[in-house]
């Protein structure tokens, strides 16, 4: 009988193999009074020296087999073993309290573990695991306990463990270790990060794996969605073997596409961009071959703090994104806050209909000082890359004109102060309110580009609150009403020589992509992890052919018919 368990998907891929339990031996530390402090100190020194020698080997092996970067953590472990603030107190305890080395080591390390675990920062919390790892090694030597090491494995297995220490993880030989499951840990644990580097499928935080999985049981690890299958039936194994093959094929296909342009089967280029929230997200965009940032949500810069970010702080963040993108188009959306997105330090009155209330550009125009600060920061950062500024929630042309006037005023002021500002910044708007989509022809004469925000456009067009479960059936991206609005916007922009992008969920949807291609969308912006998949799909589609289907699709009567129509197209 197949038993299912789920955890946190930590590293992509699928593995099927026998379980190998990596037991954590009990390292029981008793407090003993010792009489010969000198020989106790010698025991400590010898355990420390043996541990140092082992770590030096692991460090060297990691640098050779994985990378210098991954090996660095063992440099830190080595420093811990010779840390005067750790070794000092241990030696001191042995000498003055006449306790055994194990106990002194335990006490001294406990203090640091507690200190790191109390920190208000995920990264620092994880460092407690490093201290435990180092301590376990030294304790093993002091107690004469052999600690099981993954490097001894010589069969194809999936490792099951309470947790993997960093030194366990680097001894994983991908030839034998097909995947691993741990009961604790998160996506940022050291073991999870290393699993991704080694490309070993992994699920962490499974909670009951050590309790339920015995040595030799067949286990399937699905690192794509965090599923674990124990003792699976033949049919399940078959299903996952196919999933594994499909994943491998897909990965090979996508890897080739990473540095390629996005071109349709009939040679038409479109741009695939990513939606990001912080400068840190750039790594993911670059790794997934993003050609642009189609939406940088600046509100994250304002959230999770107790005062507005200063102009300088904002310049730093915007410049980091622009530099990271190395001249590729970067669309920055000005502050979209208010309504359901609140800032603790900004006291806004409660509203009955927050989605229809004072938010985004409406709030910014209401609070021009706050808005001007952001505009100045964007202008100052503009020299570092290819900046495009986008205003959210524009309902009328007057709003756009007012926002743009503020931008131009700040630009003139900065230039008068002698600050360098890019002369090629495009200024565009989000199209997420039906009035703007309908008036797109008028807007197109004044804006440099449109970006269609589908999540809001759907909610406003269908008059259905997307937070409200009872009307969720009205959230219909493929409703011809939405598609007709999208067409109006794209056509209007092209008539004025402008471009249109899309930065909602819909842009990365495999049903939507053929339709949007046919409608002539210029830029698709999605989560970074969807880019390669979309690029692969687009390379198989002909834009001219999709364009021939457009009229028929727009004439369909409902969302379901549109979906069915696209699914039966030969290329799908």
């Amino acid at each position: 009988m197949t038993q299912t368990m789920s955890g946190i998907a930590a590293s992509n891929g699928i593995a099927i193999a026998k379980a190998f339990r990596l037991e954590n031996p009990e390292l029981n530390v008793d407090k003993r009074t010792i009489s010969d402090t000198d020989s106790e100190l010698a025991r400590l020194t010898s355990a420390l020296e043996t541990s140092i020698a082992e770590l030096e080997v692991i460090q060297k092996k990691t640098a050779e087999q994985i990378s210098e970067k991954e090996a660095a953590i063992f440099g830190a472990h080595l420093l811990v073993l010779s840390d005067p603030e750790l070794v000092g107190p241990i030696t001191e305890k042995i000498k003055t309290e006449n306790v055994n080395a194990e106990f002194a080591l335990q006490e001294a390390t406990d203090m640091f573990i507690a200190m790191f675990e109390a920190m208000d920062n995920e990264y620092m919390k994880e460092r407690a695991a490093d201290i435990r790892d180092v301590r376990k090694r030294v304790l093993g030597h002091l107690l004469g306990v052999t600690i099981q090491s993954p490097s001894m494995i010589s069969d194809e297995v999936i490792i099951i463990a309470e947790d993997l220490t960093p030194s366990d993880t680097v001894q994983l030989n991908a030839q034998f270790v097909k995947g691993f499951i741990t009961d604790i840990g998160g996506r940022t644990s050291h073991s999870a990060i290393l699993a991704r580097t080694l490309e070993i499928p992994a699920v962490v935080g499974a909670k009951k794996a050590m309790a339920d999985i015995q040595n030799g049981m067949i286990v399937i690890v699905d690192g794509l969605d965090g599923t674990i299958l124990i003792d699976p039936d033949e049919s399940v194994i078959e299903e996952y073997k196919n999933k594994q093959l499909a994943y491998d094929e897909q990965k090979a296909e996508w890897a080739v596409l990473k540095n390629e342009a996005t071109v349709t089967a009939d040679g038409q280029a479109v741009e695939l961009g990513a939606n990001i929230g912080t400068p840190k997200d750039i790594t993911g965009v670059v790794d997934n071959g993003g050609e642009a940032i189609g939406l940088y949500r600046t509100e994250f810069l304002y959230m999770g703090r107790d005062s507005f970010p200063t102009e300088d702080e904002q310049v730093e963040a915007y410049a980091a994104v622009l530099k990271g993108m190395q001249g590729k188009p970067t669309v920055v959306r000005t502050l979209d806050i208010g309504g359901d997105k609140e800032l603790s330090y900004l006291d806004l009155p409660k509203e009955l209909n927050p989605f229809l209330g004072l938010r985004a550009i409406r709030l910014c125009l209401e609070m021009p000082d706050m808005f001007r600060t952001q505009l100045r920061a964007l202008l100052r950062a503009s020299v570092h890359g290819n900046l495009k500024i986008m205003f959210p929630m524009i309902a009328t042309l007057d709003e756009f004109r007012e926002a743009k006037a503020l931008l131009l005023e700040e630009k003139a002021k900065l230039q008068a102060e002698g600050v360098e500002v890019s002369e090629t910044i495009e200024v565009g708007i989000m199209v997420e309110i039906p009035s703007t989509a309908v008036m797109a022809d008028t807007f197109a004469k004044e804006v440099d580009f449109f970006s269609i925000g589908t999540n809001d456009l759907i909610q406003y067009t269908m008059a259905a609150d997307r937070m409200n479960e009872s009307v969720s059936y009205l959230y219909q991206p493929f409703n011809p009403a939405i598609l007709r609005l999208v067409k109006m916007v794209i056509d209007a922009s092209h008539r004025e020589g402008k471009w249109t992008g899309m930065c909602g969920e819909m842009a990365g949807d495999e049903i939507a992509i053929p339709i949007l291609l046919g409608l002539g969308l210029d830029e698709f912006s999605m989560s970074a992890s969807s880019i390669l998949k979309a690029r692969a799909q687009i390379s198989k589609l002909s834009k001219a052919e999709m364009a021939q289907h457009t009229d028929r699709i727009l004439a369909l009567s409902n969302s379901q018919e549109v979906e069915d129509y696209v699914k039966q197209l030969p290329t799908n």
Partner: protein
Amino acid sequence: MVEKQFTITDEAGMHARPASALVGAVSKFTSDITLEHNGKKVNLKSILGVMSLGIPSGSVVTIAADGADENEAIEQAGAVMEKEGISNQ
């Protein structure tokens, strides 16, 4: 005694890699060397001490050295921080 201030510019703050490089580099000096952040002072030759400060990006830290090779120690600390890209002087 000599001391000098540095601003931590690395976005991740004082994380394990640069901290290790810094501790490793100053450990060979005989002077007493300390790192101060937010009123808390630790031994710069102690990786656990340095990490326990949890120094975030944007912090100003003071490194002080006292002893025969104090000038070289400070100079070396500054060079390592710059090389590791965590600070400008």
